[in-house]
Subunit: 170 residues, 2 copies
């Protein structure tokens, strides 16, 4: 916050439009990591969404199906973390998936308070339709990358994710 105060006090609060920020502390957008992450992710997500729509799926439905494909019978909290879908949104999403027969909630056999989600036969068929599309996206996204470069990128994205643990309020 100290930095922000210093910067804003350098500039009068009203000044002509279109003046470039000379003392720019952030630099150009295309060197700013969160921007680059969002931009690449959003571009993939937008195209992928359009491609799975004719199959009757959304990107979020796919995220849940992919998580259940990896490991079936997940708890809602686990599913929320894995899909990066916030719990209340996920609850509504899973309601819709149950309605359309793609997944089913079940009480855990060992602890009835725990609700887990399972893919249904219809959900599995949907997953098998989407999997080749998902694989193609990975291939297109990594075109021209050597195996080592792709591995480095993936490792770096893991590190970025883990680094966010350190985030604390200022």
């Amino acid at each position: 916050m100290g930095l922000g105060m210093t910067i804003s006090s350098c500039h009068p609060s009203v000044r002509p439009m279109s003046i470039e920020e000379k003392s720019d502390p952030m630099g150009p957008l295309d060197g700013y990591l969160p921007y680059l992450l969002n931009r690449a992710g959003a571009r993939i997500a937008t195209a992928f969404s359009e491609e799975v729509r004719p199959l009757g799926a959304t990107l979020q439905t796919w995220r849940v199906l992919a998580a259940l494909h990896e490991r079936d019978g997940r708890r809602m909290g686990d599913l929320s973390e894995t899909t990066s879908i916030e719990v209340s949104t996920l609850t509504r999403l899973v309601d819709g998936m149950e309605k359309s027969g793609l997944a089913a909630r079940r009480r855990d056999t060992s602890d009835a308070r725990v609700v887990t989600l399972f893919v249904t036969a219809a959900g599995r068929r949907m997953t098998q339709k989407i999997l080749p599309i998902a694989q193609r996206y990975e291939k297109v996204a990594l075109q021209g990358f050597s195996e080592a470069e792709a591995a480095m990128l993936k490792a770096a994205l893991h590190r970025v994710y883990d680094n966010m643990d350190a985030l604390q309020a200022p």
Copy 2:
């Protein structure tokens, strides 16, 4: 599609839950690039959103302000591409930003058909409040990265974005 069909025909359409996919063509989620991109991006976006909310801003407002901070007076199409916010969503967002006095639409002086968006003095003050937070996020996200590693990650994200040009319908 052929691959998907082969796999699904290996499995009966109804089978016991919790069976692992043995012949998984996608592999574990945490080796799948679009998943890793979304996960890292979503984690940063969620935390950042919470942090700028007390300032009266949303992540999307910030994306527009950051784009105008880099270059003021952008056309709506340019702004949509830069912020990865779809045009109709952006239009509503900019309506709100005009209402709250953060930005103003103007007709281009050389071509009255072209609408451009400019930050206002209030928008600039908001930008200066958020900039230090944005810088901190970059720093936290890249903690432990050497300069060369950070540059490689950013270059790789540029390549992924550009690679999506090649995307074609199957």
